[in-house]
């Protein structure tokens, strides 16, 4: 039962609970009209302490398409946060008005502070370079709908694996399925953090390799998860400029990949996937974005305890 729960990181839900959310998302995709009044009278608070268009729009669209309403702020300077209010106090106040809250924050663990402060369900919509579990739901739903499941697959994660929170969340989530292998493609400076390597991959005996070459990895992959090198995560701009163009996926490189491989990207992209790749049927990133809205609809309904 997911009613009243939080989603702060992918492991908060069991595999069967995840399946429950994905099954509901599939039903919504199949007949969206059936759900247009599912959340009538319910209010979602979107607390975005960091700029975001797609995640915020995705959540707002999800709630509005369910018949619910949305309040919130999209940058902290327009709220009491600018006056120095703590996260805990902001959330306690919001809980007086809303039925559930979505939080994005530049600091890692901020949604956990929020969840500790209230009994209202809190959804982590990205906390710094840490976790982004609803993006993971989006990624998993897209893999499930295109490959049919998560077992016996090789997943390549490419780009900024250090600050790429979507990668951390995805590895965490996929580590629970049988025979998933990871090929982690990044420059030395942007390798996955220790806690992902030690606590998730090594601890669970998951097969993985860390490599530099995208070309060498491509033929082995069932899923290629591309990420953007994020300017906002660097303290030093020189490092960003040096690393930002390390990997660019183009038509020529796609020829090295399996016909059945899918390309995912949490978006927005800058230049790590050439626009020419968009017409390749294996490019699934815009389908993925649409799935994001549907899976968030399923999540909102589940946390509010609305049957569907």
């Amino acid at each position: 039962m997911l009613k009243g729960r939080n989603l702060l990181e992918p492991m908060d839900f069991s595999l069967s609970e995840l399946e429950e959310v994905f099954d509901l998302a599939d039903r919504i995709i199949g007949d969206p009209a059936k759900y247009v009044h599912a959340c009538d009278g319910k209010l979602l608070a979107t607390l975005f302490y960091e700029p975001s268009t797609r995640t915020r729009f995705s959540f707002e669209a999800a709630m509005l398409r369910l018949g619910g309403q949305v309040i919130g702020f999209s940058e902290p300077n327009s709220s009491s946060v600018a006056k120095g209010e703590s996260i805990a106090d902001t959330v306690k106040t919001v809980a007086c008005y809303a039925d559930l809250a979505v939080m994005r924050h530049p600091k890692e663990g901020a949604p956990k502070v929020a969840a500790h402060s209230t009994s209202m369900p809190v959804i982590n919509a990205g906390d710094g370079g840490h976790q982004h579990p609803t993006q993971t739901l989006t990624d998993l739903l897209t893999i499930r709908r295109t490959l049919g499941g998560f077992e016996n697959i090789t997943v390549g994660c490419c780009g900024d694996l250090k600050f790429g929170r979507t990668v951390h969340s995805l590895i965490k989530a996929l580590s629970r399925y049988k025979n998933v292998k990871f090929i982690l493609i990044s420059p030395e400076e942007l390798r996955i953090p220790d806690y992902v390597r030690k606590e998730i991959l090594i601890k669970n005996g998951i097969e993985f390799e860390e490599v530099r070459s995208l070309q060498e990895a491509l033929p082995k992959l069932d899923v290629l998860y591309m990420t953007r090198v994020q300017k906002e995560r660097f303290f030093n701009e020189e490092d960003y400029i040096r690393l930002k163009d390390t990997y660019i996926l183009d038509k020529a490189k796609m020829k090295l990949a399996k016909e059945s491989m899918i390309v995912l990207h949490p978006l927005p992209r800058v230049n790590e996937i050439a626009v020419e790749v968009d017409e390749d049927p294996r490019a699934m990133y815009f389908v993925q974005a649409k799935n994001g809205m549907f899976v968030r609809m399923a999540l909102i309904m589940s946390l509010l305890g609305i049957e569907g």
């Binding site: 805990a88 924050h105 600091k107 663990g109 901020a110 502070v113 840490h130 806690y195 030690k198």
Partner: protein
């Protein structure tokens, strides 16, 4: 060197030489008001050298702090000049407000009232994970 025994209080013995000052710092004992003997580099049959801390009239020190920094130390509680209790230390599973997260991206760097919570992930290497940002710290080193 002669240091008098204490009538009532606590003796923390077999501290790895060099760690005594760190223990005093983490125990947060007020050195202005308490009577404290801190012996550095005392002779030890087992380890060659050791540190010893004696605190008079204080018996309720934070054992989690001791287990975190020096789980091999021995703790003797003294009453009327006699040892009334020997405490075996354990590496604590969770510590709250003992160590601070050094990750500048962690929410605890901006949310003043959030408790600093760390969970044990590797007892042998005394590695802990921050509740909020998952940063790993080792208490075996010079944290």
């Amino acid at each position: 060197m002669l240091v008098n025994s204490i009538e009532k209080g606590i003796v923390i013995d077999h501290i790895t030489a060099g760690l005594g000052a760190k223990i005093l710092e983490y125990l947060d004992i007020d050195l202005n008001t308490n009577t404290v003997a801190f012996i550095m580099n005392a002779c030890s049959k087992k380890h060659g050298k050791k540190d010893i801390v004696k605190i008079q009239n204080v018996t309720d020190v934070n054992l989690d702090v001791l287990g975190l920094i020096e789980p091999n130390a021995t703790v003797n509680v003294i009453e009327n000049g006699e040892i009334v209790k020997k405490i075996t230390l354990q590496v604590p599973e969770t510590v709250t407000n003992v160590i601070k997260c050094k990750n500048p991206r962690c929410v605890t760097s901006v949310e003043a009232n959030a408790p600093h919570i760390f969970h044990l992930i590797d007892a042998e290497n005394r590695e802990y994970r921050c509740e909020y940002c998952d940063e790993i710290v080792s208490m075996k080193g010079a944290y």
